[in-house]
Symmetry: C2
Subunit: 478 residues, 2 copies
């Protein structure tokens, strides 16, 4: 588009190129020279015409997406968002996976896209008991706070520290920071640790929704491809010769979106690199409990003998997303700065919720709940993998991870592209998550789809896979 | 101190001078060349020796305080914080007012410092009903969320919009943003609107605790003196010739710490300046409900016919601080960016708390609660002002505001300084808030003390004022 040829970037400026580019595009949007739903140029062609690296354009688009100025759509491409959309819509557009499904009636279809478990599985009654116990016991104190509460309710931090021992993580209560969900964890770490121009490494593919916090600091992301046992450490080593990242953001257990788990060797290697090159590792753990095998999956934090791992635990998948509750285990060197960032962000997480959560954690209910969830989803995992093996193997390959709530299918070479496929599935009432939502321009990732079995019945799994088989057959023989 | 003479600032750098200075000091702290509890040099002498404006040093110290690297102590001076302090202490040090009272046993004294009302006044039983109703009615849905929830639970936004009509504020539900407390409001506005080097105007004195969010963006604060009817608009006009602020942060009803209210004329003048010079006004309202007069105090937002006011409502004083609940009314032009900042900060405020809060707001209980609070605190206000008139008038002057939870006493010229006075009160078991906590080096502000009657009994008010009178007499006749 001609309009993009007028964009001038200043390579000598302190403002990173991607941000200059993003702000130029933002300006065009604000001036209405780029109208809502206009498709932005493809990454490579824009990079070429501007004479910049394509990673610059990728980061600019991601930055704009984090600002909700643009959105990516099922299939492919980045589009200008409509700021005038009425309230809910203006927020629902980009970032989170299911947001891109807004055009599809997900209520009356088989939903392999949603990764939140059914609300029927939330332990609401038990929490109701905990809430009432707290109200009767603590009365007004449940809603007061001290400034020392920024780190979190002390008895809750004690309970978490005890629980972490079972995971092999030795954490003093004063190194545990309570957060209002994993997103806030990443946000306050970014606030404490990142400034404009700082570099962050991520996995590729990764969960971009989480990166909004990083981009809000004006920092830049560099992606490192994932292998079956964790990130490619050879590429990481090469990149460490060029960049000094403040941290790397990873998920070691049932990664989003690939479901891979890090091997013991990769974990050791990664830690040694962090120690040698002085970067931190943000290990986000939202899926670790969904382990259907008999072997334990050790977190990176448990192996971190020199305190370089910031561990973020989310309860959104295993308990309930609307609880807005999680915690971090912090290395001493950064804990004060991070707690201070929490203070300036929202002072403290609701004391009422923390007190109820403490009761819940200290009861035996949490352990029983995890076992119950694993038993339910282990069964669904077995069902969906056996059906996929039986019906979809001519069209897809995938790795069995033995856990999590999703499987990550790769299209075989001779298949039509993901865009055509996902649309065909949707037309037949089956919604899946295209790989393109986890990357801006990685062709390899775009050849994937993700199936979630978090919020589908066994019958729906059966019917859904059958429909997918039928659609593949039809398209394949065309 | 010699160590400070080695600090070199680069006036040509894009990094603001105050930030360069702060980072130099931070470096000295990290290298342990400045040990915990070391007193930093006085503002003016450091400014002089570095050849910079004293506002630069003020902002550097405030920036460091926001990062909890330093703390201000009762009396005067800024000190290096101890990063090795055990958990609670490391957090309780600076920023919030009562934190500086840690050395004093506030439990066994008359506490005129605390501005949180007694927990006995929290409407806990009514909220308990609301919580249980939500759990029985919504079950798991109370803990699920959609990405569209970043703006807040729609029925709650509807209820707030209705309530705002009584305040003369016309706000569409889609311009109401739910927040987890006023601090988060300021934080996400800053995230959406501020970048390094941006200028923000504040009142002088102001509540510095709130500015941590602004400093976290690398922005700089310029203070404008308050008069009895609002900020000094003559000085504001002069400063507008030098600076282009992104916004001004003010409290129009019972300001912290002075208790002043803006006059209708000041409000109109301020709005016209905002329209002319294109800056936004952040109007924080945490005290507006504590009005003991018969006349209505109109908010700035109610008069804002060209949408330049971002109104932040806090329920921490009128309801309960630990609810972590508030809202903002946003101009359309910035609403999308701010909701997006909310999303990247913590996705959404707890849906469970929002749903219960909606029930509470829609009942008649909220109105009754406000009337009950006003009746209780109006009585205490009458008591404390009449006692102050009777016993303290030889030593202090003050303005009667007719509302709020505090009075702002100014020492008469011939009295000893605030530091000596506050210590003497404390020795006799009466804790007050010295004005020095609301400024870094303003001599005028330092000649004040603030008395809060939020969390004291009538007997304590009686005894407290009598003790203060005795101490004043003793010191005055020395």
């Amino acid at each position: 588009m001609e309009i993009f040829n007028d964009i001038k970037l200043n390579k000598k400026s302190e403002t990173p190129l991607y941000q200059q580019l993003a702000e130029n595009i933002l300006h065009l949007i604000e001036q209405n020279e780029l109208k809502p739903d206009t498709k932005l140029p493809p990454i490579r062609s824009l990079a070429e015409s501007l004479g910049v690296n394509s990673i610059t354009v990728v980061n600019a688009y991601k930055y704009l997406e984090a600002k909700k100025a643009v959105y990516s759509h099922v299939g492919s491409g980045t589009f200008v968002a409509d700021p005038g959309l009425n309230d809910n819509k203006s927020v629902t557009r980009p970032l989170l996976n299911r947001q891109s499904l807004e055009d599809i009636d997900t209520k009356n279809c088989i939903n392999f896209a949603d990764t939140s478990v059914s609300v029927d599985l939330f332990p609401v009654d038990l929490f109701k008991n905990c809430f009432n116990t707290v109200l009767d016991r603590d009365k007004g104190d449940a809603f007061s706070y001290l400034d020392s509460d920024s780190m979190g309710y002390k008895p809750l931090r004690d309970a978490i520290a005890q629980r972490l021992e079972d995971e092999g993580i030795k954490a003093l209560p004063e190194r545990i920071q309570i957060i209002s969900g994993a997103q806030q964890g990443l946000d306050i770490v970014s606030k404490a640790m990142l400034n404009t121009n700082d570099i962050v490494f991520t996995e590729k593919p990764t969960y971009y929704g989480a990166l909004g916090a990083i981009f809000s600091r004006g920092a830049q992301a560099v992606e490192i491809p994932l292998e079956i046992d964790g990130i490619n450490t050879e590429i990481l080593k090469k990149l460490l010769k060029v960049y000094s990242p403040r941290f790397i953001y990873i998920m070691t257990r049932y990664q989003t979106p690939t479901g891979i788990c890090y091997s013991p060797q990769k974990k050791r290697e990664l830690l040694e690199l962090a120690y040698k090159h002085n970067f931190y590792i943000i290990e986000e753990d939202n899926m670790g409990d969904f382990n259907y095998t008999n072997s334990k999956l050790v977190t990176l934090k448990a192996l971190d003998y020199r305190n370089r791992v910031i561990y973020i635990k989310s309860f959104s998948k295993i308990l309930m997303p609307g609880l807005r509750m999680g915690y971090m285990v912090l290395p001493k060197a950064v804990s004060q700065a991070i707690t201070s960032a929490k203070y300036s962000s929202d002072i403290a997480t609701s004391s009422f919720i923390q007190r109820a959560f403490e009761l819940y954690l200290r009861s035996n209910e949490y352990g029983s709940h995890i076992r119950r969830m694993c038993s339910i989803f282990s069964e669904k995992y077995t069902l969906i993998t056996s059906l996929t093996d039986k019906k979809l193997s001519p069209y897809f390959t995938y790795n069995k991870t033995g856990g999590g709530l999703t499987i990550w299918l790769k299209l075989r070479e001779n298949m039509p592209d993901t865009h055509i496929l996902c649309n065909a599935f949707a037309q037949s009432g089956v919604v899946v998550m295209p790989g393109s939502l986890f990357t801006t321009d990685d062709k390899e990732t775009e050849r994937h789809i993700r199936l979630s079995f978090a919020n589908v019945t066994n019958t729906e799994i059966n019917n859904g896979i059958t429909i997918m088989e039928d659609e593949c057959k039809r398209l394949y023989t065309k």
